[in-house]
Every structure is written in C-alpha cells, then in structure tokens.
C-alpha cells in the first residue's frame, strides 16, 4: 500500500541514495549494549499509522528492559528498507505484500505476493534472511486496498461482503484512483473475481479527501480506500469484506535485523502483533489523523491497556 503513498519527490530523491548505497559502504552495525539488554533502533514511515506501530513495538520492548531509539517519519520504503539492510535502524513495522513486492523488485524477481499473509511472510524471509533481516509473524491487523460504501447504503441493501454487491452493481458508480480501470486489484479484479459490472467509474484519489467528498455528494456508491484509514469511520463508511481474496495480504509484520533479534524480542513482537487488529488500527489512525492526538501518546495508551 505504501507504493501508492510514496511521493514522486521521495522516490526520486531516494533513487540517488540507493545508487550510492549500492556503490559504497555497508554501514557498521547500529550501536549496541549501553544497557544490559541492548539497544534497538526503530524507524517509521512518514504516516501516522507507522509512527504509532513503531512506538507500540518500542513501548513493549522498553518495558522488557531494552533501550529503544526512534527514527520517526524517516521517509517512504525507498529510504527505510535500505536503512534496515545497512544496519542504521534495527526494526520497522512492515506490510507483508508491499515489502515483499519491494524486496523482490530490487532483486529483479517476479513479484509473487498473494492474498495469503503467511505465504507473503515466508517469501519475505526467503528474500531477506540472506541479508540479515527477519520477518516475524504477520499480525491480523491489515492496511490494504479495500472497497467501502456508505453505512446507509450498506444497511439498506444488507451489504457485508463484496459479493453482496452483485445485486446492485449495475446501477452503481465506482470511485478510485485514475489507474483503477487498469489495475488487477481494482476495477478489472472486481469484474473478473466478483462479476461486478458497474454503471460507471469516477477517477478520484486513492482513499483520500476526493474519495470522501465523492461519497458525501453521492457521486459514487462504492470506492477504493485503505482498510485501516481513520477517515473511514469519520465519514460514516464501512469496508466490505474481500470474501473472494482479490487483494494481496498487506498484514502488519515486524522486519528486524537478525543481529538484534533474540527469542525474547521475537516473542514480545509476536505477541504484540497477535493482539493488534484492523479495528484498533483504524481507531488509532482516526485518533491521530482526525482528532490530532499525538501518535506516541496513542501508542503508549495501547501498550498500557494491553498489558505490555
């Protein structure tokens, strides 16, 4: 999902950084052991959800006696992933399908992310382990492409799953990013996998303000959103279940350098992941992006209330 969030600016600036990384220093290991249990540097991407997740991992590890440093809002994946591989950071909350596609892309391997999170993580480990990085257990929490309708529409037509839409699709307009009619996960996928043939398509943005405005003015009936976006509930929308698995599984998954990982760190992160879910994630995103609470405070509250 991050690929869509990355800015052209970021991508171009980092292309340069990548070239230099390829040519030069591998970077030393991040500084370790000022505390008996060692130091872990956690980075986040440049959006609230990632900052919240970094501080949830960090809060849980800190309570176990680790020294935690943060590199918040470090940038997009083009910055964060190389920083992990070169040891400038030790850990970040990745997204199973997107991180897999990114890592395979750099290797020139054909992307094979699927709607199965376990498969994606297994493949991630195959690609990243030789580079000293491990992917831990995927969380049930997911931030991936999803299709939403207004709550009113869902209630009156009894819509829960995407396949429920088939009875009304012929009179509906679909909203999504301009590339939606070409992308397999978007309009073509809805047609082939679900047999949904809409009356029309409206080019908007990828789950941003334009999409929300289009729902508000009833210009669209169904639109592409990100499953954990805080704006979904704030705009009285509901996400329909992807019951035929059209979308690649972008479950949250910790990516950690093997050098700082040990059985305790693994078990802390895996148990955090097991307790995270998409509804929590959506609520925390709303708290940060809509209500403007501090991502770090939101994360601390979650850590405390879940007993980490």
């Amino acid at each position: 999902m991050l690929l869509k969030r990355s800015s052209v600016l970021g991508a171009s600036m980092v292309a340069l950084a990548l070239i230099t990384t390829a040519c030069g220093s591998t970077g030393g290991p991040a500084s370790s052991s000022s505390s008996p249990k060692g130091t872990i540097t956690i980075a986040s991407f440049n959006f609230s959800e990632s900052i919240i997740l970094a501080h949830i991992y960090g809060g849980a590890l800190k309570n176990k006696g680790y020294t935690v440093n943060y590199k918040d809002k470090l940038g997009n994946r083009e910055i964060v992933e190389p920083a992990l591989l070169s040891g400038q950071i030790d850990l970040y909350a990745g997204y199973a399908a997107t991180d897999l596609t990114f890592a395979e892309g750099k290797l020139g391997v054909t992307a094979d992310a699927s709607s199965d999170a376990a498969h994606n993580v297994e493949r991630l480990n195959a690609v990243l382990n030789p580079k000293g990085v491990k992917a831990l257990d995927p969380s049930p929490a997911v931030d991936q492409n999803a299709f939403a309708v207004t709550k009113a529409e869902a209630d009156s037509n009894h819509l829960v799953k995407l396949s429920d839409v088939s009875s009304v699709a012929s009179g509906w307009t679909l909203g999504g990013p301009p590339e939606c009619p070409q992308r397999p996960f978007c309009q073509p996928g809805l047609e082939q996998t679900y047999g949904l043939h809409f009356k029309g398509f409206k080019a908007l943005d990828a789950g941003g303000p334009l999409t929300y405005a289009a729902f508000k003015s009833s210009a669209i009936n169904i639109g592409l959103v990100f499953s954990s976006d805080g704006g979904i509930s704030a705009n009285n929308l509901v996400v329909l279940q992807d019951d035929k698995h059209l979308q690649q599984a972008d479950n949250i998954v910790p990516l950690i350098r093997s050098a700082v990982d040990n059985s305790e760190v693994t078990s802390v992160l895996n148990s955090v992941d097991a307790k995270l879910n998409t509804i929590d994630l959506t609520n925390m995103n709303k708290s940060a992006d809509v209500d403007k609470n501090d991502p770090t405070d939101i994360a601390n509250t979650w850590v405390t209330s879940h007993g980490f």
Binding site: L74, I89, G207, P209, G231, N235
Partner: protein
C-alpha cells in the same frame, strides 16, 4: 502523496491553543534544536570560509576554482544532498550539518573576497607607506574594512540556513521543520503554522541581532552612514 493523512471532512482550525499549551516542551525543544543547528552550521561555515576566502583573494589562480566549487555545492538541491549523504554519514546530525555548512560557503567566501577587493588602493598604499607589514596590514587594515561585506555574508548565510534547517526534518532532524513536517503529514494546521511562524521570526531576530553586532564592531561605518 500525502493524501492518506488528509481526512478532509473534519474542520481543522488554523491554530489549536489547547494543543499548543500541551506541547510547549516539544515546541521549545524544536526551537532550540533549530538555533543549535543554525549556529553550528554558520560557525563552522565561517571557520572554513575565512582561510579559504583569504586564500582565494591572495592567490588569483585559486579564486576561480574556489568560487566555482562552492558554487556547484550551492546548486545541489538540498533534498538530494541530504539523501546522498545518508549512505555515508548515516541518519545523523553530521549529515544535516555537512549539508548546511556546504550551503553557507559560497555566500561567505564571495563576501569575504568582495569585501577585501573593495578596500581602496590608496588605503593600502597609505598603510604600506606607514610601514605596515603585510600580515599586520591584513589584520589591522584590510579585514576591518571588509567587515561590512563579511557581515552581510554572515547575515545572508544565517537567514538561508534557518530556512534550510527545516528541510533536514526529512532526514530525522529539522528543529522547527519537524513541526512543519508533522503538520503536513497529518493535515494538521497548528504545528504547521507554529513551525513556520517561529522559523520566520527566528530569521528576523537573527538578522536584526547580527546587524546590531555589525554596528557595534564597526563604529566608523556608523558615522559614515549618517553623513
């Protein structure tokens, strides 16, 4: 695309005073980091520029290369420079400072050379006539007379650096830039506004203080300015 943080439908006022009062410590820390990054950058810049500027002024052959090299540094887009440095110097203050110092050099060196060039030939002649040796002439006659130009360079470099520091937010530093960046990412006007206003205010205060300092250390130019 930053749009995912932008939820649109909710009204966000230009400034939320409750947020501001709860984050005074964050704002204070951002401001002091901003000042620190600026002072270190301009300070190091002056330390490097002074000998280079003197050298470029005395050795005519070196002038072209020094000015064009620092000119090239100056034209590298700041975002690109910072990200080019990340693989070498990491995500550190050092990366930020190398970038910031590089941008001060052209302004400072040019002003040093211009200032020294502008010392009137007859003043130099008179100094030599009075028996000044070259070193004494440099430090007691030429450099003092070049101070207005050098100080003008320092003022421009300082104001430029204060603006550039905000960009280092993208590599995890940034002083007030980190507030601006937070505001951009969350479509949250309060930190955006506070970061921008304080950054502008800091530039104004710094410029005024430096111009005050210049008046104090060059009392002679004050008299001349009024006639």
């Amino acid at each position: 695309m930053l749009a995912t943080g932008v939820v649109g439908a909710v009204d966000d006022p230009w400034i939320r005073w409750d947020w501001t009062t709860r984050h005074l410590d964050v704002i204070g820390a951002a401001l002091s980091q901003h000042i620190e990054l600026t002072v270190v950058a301009v300070g190091l810049g002056v330390l490097i520029a002074l000998p280079l500027g003197l050298l470029a002024w005395r050795e005519r052959v070196l002038r072209g290369p020094v000015i064009s090299l620092t000119g090239i540094l100056y034209t590298i887009p700041s975002l690109a420079l910072f990200s080019l440095l990340i693989p070498i110097t990491g995500l550190s203050i050092l990366t930020a400072e190398i970038g910031l110092v590089s941008y001060t050099l052209l302004i400072l060196i040019r002003n040093i050379v211009t200032g020294l060039d502008a010392v009137p030939a007859e003043v130099r002649e008179a100094a030599r006539g009075m028996g000044y040796r070259p070193r004494k002439q440099l430090f007691q006659v030429e450099i003092p007379l070049a101070i207005p130009s050098i100080m003008a360079g320092i003022r421009i470099a300082t104001v430029t650096t204060i603006g550039l520091v905000t960009v280092t937010a993208l590599i995890g530093e940034g002083g007030l830039g980190s507030l601006i960046y937070d505001g951009l990412l969350r479509d949250f006007k309060t930190p955006l506004l506070i970061g921008s206003v304080l950054s502008v205010a800091l530039a104004l205060v710094a410029d005024l203080s430096l111009s005050g300092l210049q008046r104090v250390i060059t009392p002679w130019s004050r008299g001349r300015a009024t006639t």
